[in-house]
């Protein structure tokens, strides 16, 4: 039942915030914040572990539309739970970031924000494809309003682009969902939207491939992957700060989640077929995003392009479909949510004080706002992958895992580490270093901002130094083997789960068996041979 509440609480909270908006603008903020805090606490109880023998930490099925085989099927494993926790956490950060920036129609703003969060939460938890699609769409419309109503000058265009891009992807996914539904129905005689039923649906490779493409379209737009990313810089930079946090921190992650949860398990062979192409797109995205970030003059746009670069790592990690790389991608998702979210909050704070986002008109803010400068430095360092902060663990595991699958892709992706240093330090130089501004400077961060940023920094430090508990409780390995006949998937998922706790000798099992002189080349051959 916790899972149902996890989705319903943000929705109810949003409605309550909307209604309470008539009493005063402070009410919606507090209502939303407490609803999300309650949600977070509820989800934390799931960390204790699920029922023995089940791969799910929690699962619930409620009848919905039995005629067509659609049900309300919610479940959480380590992957879902990590992202659900991130959703509640970043939701709170987004509320805090909108505290002083949103002054008009605060009630309606919080309704939109909370609906997006409910949609994201639902998408992370649903195991029924029709339900997943409903939540997927639920994210979209309120997000559109958030950008279009409370955004900056170019908000209409940005909101429209965001809507058209994501909607085009979603419709293709809907077509694929229906296609899969009918293929499964005609093959087995049982029509169902349920994930557990649809796994391992027998179909020809061509069918599988086309159905997979529909899902890939939706997820690649959301992630975003090159060349479907062009909605992102605009949407991020035009959205209000809270909206940017939710967009970068959460919405992008739904694309990655969809790939891990649905795309690979439902279409394992087709995904493996297209994987080399996606590796290239991922690597190009890493470099392309990082280079373009340096060319931007708008602070939020700059940060938006860094997201494209980071999501390239996530994409590479997923399509390597290897235990370490997958867990690395998950860590990176969480840490990117915290670090980029924090950078957007700082950008928003600067904008509130200076009324501009043009980095050409900034500089020297360190002397008047050393705390803000220190915070920006911290998150910029996280973003460039400094060891000790969580992003490094994510990137390292992605590179390490994908190195065994596609060494060339991993090596080229590593070049992103240099490029990320270039843009991260550029942000610090342009905004906080340099000659002091002729005016009095800007006010340093206050208590609310400091608390928000400190909690995000704590997450990064924790995941950077002590990621052990994260992998134990929420890693993809704890999901145990997924109920599917796919070999490639079993290798990846049980690869982690099975070996955790057993192989402490520190050697890859393959090497111990296969004697001397064996490098990754040979290992790669074996892995593909399966």
């Amino acid at each position: 039942m916790i899972l149902v509440w996890a989705v319903v609480i943000p929705l109810l909270g949003g409605l309550a915030a909307w209604l309470s908006g008539r009493l005063g603008s402070a009410f919606p903020r507090w209502v939303s914040l407490s609803a999300l805090a309650l949600d977070l606490v509820l989800l934390l109880t799931l960390l204790d572990g699920g029922p023995a023998g089940s791969r799910w930490l929690a699962e619930i099925r409620i009848e919905w539309i039995p005629v067509i085989g659609a049900g309300i099927h919610l479940a959480a494993d380590g992957l879902s739970l990590a992202l659900a926790l991130l959703t509640a956490f970043l939701g709170m950060a987004a509320v805090a970031a909108s505290w002083s920036g949103i002054r008009e129609r605060t009630g309606f703003f919080h309704l939109c924000l909370m609906s997006v969060i409910a949609g994201v939460m639902g998408a992370f938890l649903s195991l029924d494809l029709l339900l997943f699609y409903v939540f997927w769409e639920l994210m979209l419309v309120p997000m559109f309003f958030m950008v279009a109503v409370w955004g900056r000058e170019g908000r209409y265009r940005a909101a429209l682009r965001f809507f058209i891009f994501t909607q085009a992807g979603s419709l293709l996914m809907l077509a694929s969902i229906l296609g899969l539904y009918f293929v499964h129905g005609t093959e087995t005689g049982r029509y169902s939207f349920d994930y557990a039923d649809l796994l391992g649906t027998p179909m020809g490779l061509a069918t599988e491939f086309w159905l997979m493409l529909g899902f890939l379209a939706a997820f690649a737009v959301k992630l975003p992957a090159i060349p479907f990313h062009t909605w992102l810089p605009e949407a991020h930079s035009e959205a209000p700060t809270g909206g940017s946090v939710v967009l970068a921190g959460l919405l992008l992650k739904t694309g990655a989640y969809g790939m891990i949860r649905f795309l690979f398990p439902l279409f394992p062979d087709a995904a493996a077929t297209i994987a080399p192409v996606v590796h290239v797109l991922a690597v190009v995205g890493i470099i392309y995003g990082a280079v373009l970030a340096l060319g931007q003059t708008d602070l939020k746009r700059l940060i938006a392009y860094t997201s494209i670069s980071h999501m390239g790592f996530v994409l590479l990690g997923i399509f390597a479909w290897e235990g370490l790389a997958l867990n690395g991608a998950l860590v990176l998702m969480v840490c990117h949510g915290a670090s980029t979210g924090a950078l957007f909050i700082i950008a928003g704070a600067v904008e509130e004080r200076t009324h501009t986002l043009d980095i050409g008109r900034m500089g020297g803010f360190w002397s008047s706002a050393p705390k803000m400068g220190g915070a920006a430095l911290f998150f910029a360092l996280a973003s460039l992958g400094l060891p000790g902060l969580g992003n490094f663990i994510g990137e390292f595991l992605v590179l390490l895992g994908s190195f065994r699958v596609n060494a060339a892709a991993a090596v080229f992706a590593a070049l992103g580490l240099i490029a990320s240093a270039v843009y991260s330090l550029w942000i610090i130089q342009k905004v906080f270093h340099g000659p002091a501004p002729p005016e009095a400077g800007i006010a340093d961060i206050g208590g609310r901002e400091a608390a928000t940023l400190a909690s995000m920094a704590a997450v990064l430090l924790w995941l950077g130094l002590f990621p052990g508990p994260f992998f134990e409780r929420t890693g993809i390995g704890t999901a145990a083997s997924m109920p599917t006949g796919s070999e490639i998937e079993r290798e990846a998922v049980t690869g982690v789960a099975g070996r955790i706790g057993r192989e402490k000798s520190g050697r890859p099992p393959g090497l111990a068996r296969h004697g001397a002189g064996e490098g990754p080349e040979e290992m790669r051959g074996r892995q593909q041979g399966k």
């Binding site: 595991l397 590179l399 270093h433």
Partner: protein, 615 residues
């Protein structure tokens, strides 16, 4: 003491966190006390660990303290663990003691700076990261320290952040070393993917047993070398170091002379098993070291900026260490690291004393005649310069450099040895050029401030170390970790030894001739046409910056600027325009003229009929 190994890096880290938390709220004296005190305590902890280690040496030659499991996932495991052996003990001792002396000096040097507390916070963080680097027992943990020192280097080069140039120098340093670090990370990944662990002992054993003569060993060694080249400012990744002198002088002394730039030497010594498996990579190490030595020595000779001259000198001395590593004289390399840490820190600190007493003057052309007015700076600088030149018998630098040249002749051949000899000659030449330009000749700028006690004590202590540290038995102490050079000395090595002892004296004598008194020859040389071109070429560090600017920086910036509008967006924007055009066309059909509508209807009916009939 074995159980308290973690205190060694933890103490400076605690100091750094404390200073960051307290910020500007505490008086300067307290900041300095916290900053220096924690590092002093850490030095004492190293001392205790060393006494413990030497009185009861562990049977296998090293002692490991596991801290926590960092990553343990699937087939990969990396732990945070510290390792104490002869090598890490030597490194840690040099780092903590030098750092302590430099911090004491800084307490006076940084007086009155608005970032006083921030300075000590960064310096302490640096010391902690450096200690993690040298004590780590796991390559991933080592990499944490490795990037940590790089970060602190960035922060401290750009310490005076209001100057845009300082920020540029800081970013240049970070990004260039990051290029090397990225190769290093790929090397770490290669090792991890092959052995499933990054525990140094396990990785080296695995490599030794499974990679005999293999291409993978060479690949891994090359990647580690690339990381070392960046960090240690060796060709072709050397150009960031001279610019790094934008930082405060104690920073240059600690990070860019004594400790961090030697990290590359340390990592190669630490993974020497890997390099021994790939002989041609070893040759490359030696060749790059020798090349850097020559490139930098000639550049140091023509610098006007005192600190830049010292920076080129540092590159050259680290080049000596690389030369030693490349010919298999591992012990000599670490020995030279130690003596270099002392004399180069000393040179920077006394240069700092000169600079601060002249009110921030760096240009040697505006100095001169300071011998009598700044006697302490003069005598200490002289001690450092003598040790840098390796004047025989009385200086520490002599013993370590002599060992390197001996190894180069035995293990590397005449060519490398010759490069070393030329390097040693030019080193002595530019070392005494600095002495003569700064302290002799006509009086330059006025002395505004005298050196105080806090700055004087470290200078004296480092002078003593620069002259006497050669008597420490470092090479034999390191035998447990680093194998002794195997190569037999060739015939005639005695004569070669005598020559290499005399070369520094020749260099110093030449400097007397050229730079003491009237500098007619030098000025005529630099004034002639080709001489001026050569002077500019050498002064700019052999044009590397010019080349890299065109090869990397500008194309990257161009790509970033050209891509500002995002080319990939063009098709989408095109689609939008197309839709708008079509819309425009179709709008025209709504003309409001009944005739047109009727004609359209008739045409449509005709087409529909035709379709029904013919299809």
């Amino acid at each position: 003491m074995k159980e308290f190994l973690w205190l060694i890096p933890a103490l400076p880290l605690a100091g750094s966190i404390l200073l960051a938390a307290l910020g500007r709220s505490i008086p300067a004296r307290v900041s300095a006390a916290i900053g220096g005190g924690t590092v002093g305590l850490s030095a004492l902890a190293v001392l205790a660990a060393g006494v413990d280690f030497m009185s009861a040496p562990p049977p296998e030659g090293f002692h490991v303290q596991g801290l926590w499991t960092w990553v343990d996932l699937g087939w990969f495991r990396a732990g945070a663990a510290l390792r104490l052996d002869a090598l890490s003990l030597t490194m840690a001792a040099v780092v903590t003691f030098t750092a302590f002396l430099i911090l004491v000096y800084s307490a006076e040097f940084m007086e009155g700076d608005e970032g006083y507390s921030r300075f000590f916070a960064y310096m302490d963080l640096f010391v902690a990261a450096m200690l993690v680097l040298v004590l780590a027992d796991d390559l991933l943990f080592l990499y944490l320290g490795w990037e940590g020192v790089g970060l602190c280097s960035y922060l401290l080069i750009g310490f005076w952040y209001r100057e845009a140039n300082n920020g540029y120098a800081a970013r240049k340093a970070f990004i260039m070393t990051r290029a090397g670090d990225t190769a290093f990370v790929i090397g770490i990944i290669l090792l991890a993917a092959s052995f499933g662990t990054l525990d140094i002992t396990a990785v080296m054993e695995g490599a030794a047993s499974e990679w005999q003569g293999g291409r993978l060993a060479a690949a891994a060694a090359l990647l580690v070398l690339a990381g070392a080249l960046g960090k240690s400012a060796q060709a072709p990744l050397q150009t960031w170091l001279p610019d790094a002198m934008a930082g405060p002088t104690p920073v240059s002394a600690l990070i860019h002379a004594a400790t961090m730039v030697a990290a590359g030497v340390y990592i190669i010594a630490r993974t020497h098993v890997l390099f021994a498996l790939a002989p041609w990579v070893m040759d490359l190490v030696a060749a790059l070291g020798a090349a850097t030595l020559l490139i930098s020595a000639f550049s140091a000779l023509v610098q006007h900026d005192l600190k830049r001259s010292l920076a080129y000198s540092t590159m050259g001395q680290v080049g000596f260490m690389f030369l030693a590593l490349g010919v298999g004289s591992w012990q000599a390399a670490i020995f030279h690291f130690m003596t270099h840490a002392f004399f180069k820190a000393l040179l920077f600190l006394s240069a700092g004393a000169v600079i601060i007493s002249l009110g921030g003057e760096h240009d040697m052309r505006r100095m001169g005649g300071l011998r009598s007015r700044l006697p302490l700076a003069f005598w200490t600088f002289l001690a450092g310069a003598a040790s840098l030149s390796a004047l025989p018998l009385v200086t520490a630098g002599y013993y370590s450099k002599d060992l390197i040249l001996e190894g180069a002749l035995a293990g590397g051949g005449t060519l490398l040895w010759g490069a070393g000899i030329i390097g040693a000659f030019v080193t002595a030449l530019y070392a005494f050029r600095m002495v003569f330009l700064v302290f002799f000749g006509e009086a330059g700028a006025d002395v505004k401030r005298r050196t105080g006690l806090k700055a004087a004590l470290p200078l004296v202590a480092l002078s003593a170390l620069s002259l006497l540290a050669g008597f420490f038995g470092v090479p034999s102490f390191l035998e447990a970790v680093l194998p002794a050079s195997q190569a037999a000395p060739p015939v005639g090595h005695r004569w070669a030894g005598i020559l290499s002892s005399l070369v520094p004296l020749l260099g110093a004598a030449a400097a007397c001739l050229l730079y003491l008194g009237k500098r007619g020859i030098v000025e005529r040389l630099a004034g002639s046409g080709p001489g001026a071109v050569l002077h500019r070429f050498l002064g700019s560090g052999w044009g590397f910056d010019w080349l890299y600017e065109r090869l990397f920086v500008r194309p990257y910036q161009l790509a970033a600027r050209a891509g500002r509008a995002d080319i990939i967006d063009a098709p989408y924007a095109g689609a939008v325009r197309l839709a708008e055009r079509l819309n425009g066309l179709l709008v025209k059909t709504q003309s409001g003229q009944v005739r047109r509508y009727a004609a359209g209807m008739a045409l449509g009916a005709l087409l529909a009929l035709g379709a029904m009939v013919f299809i």
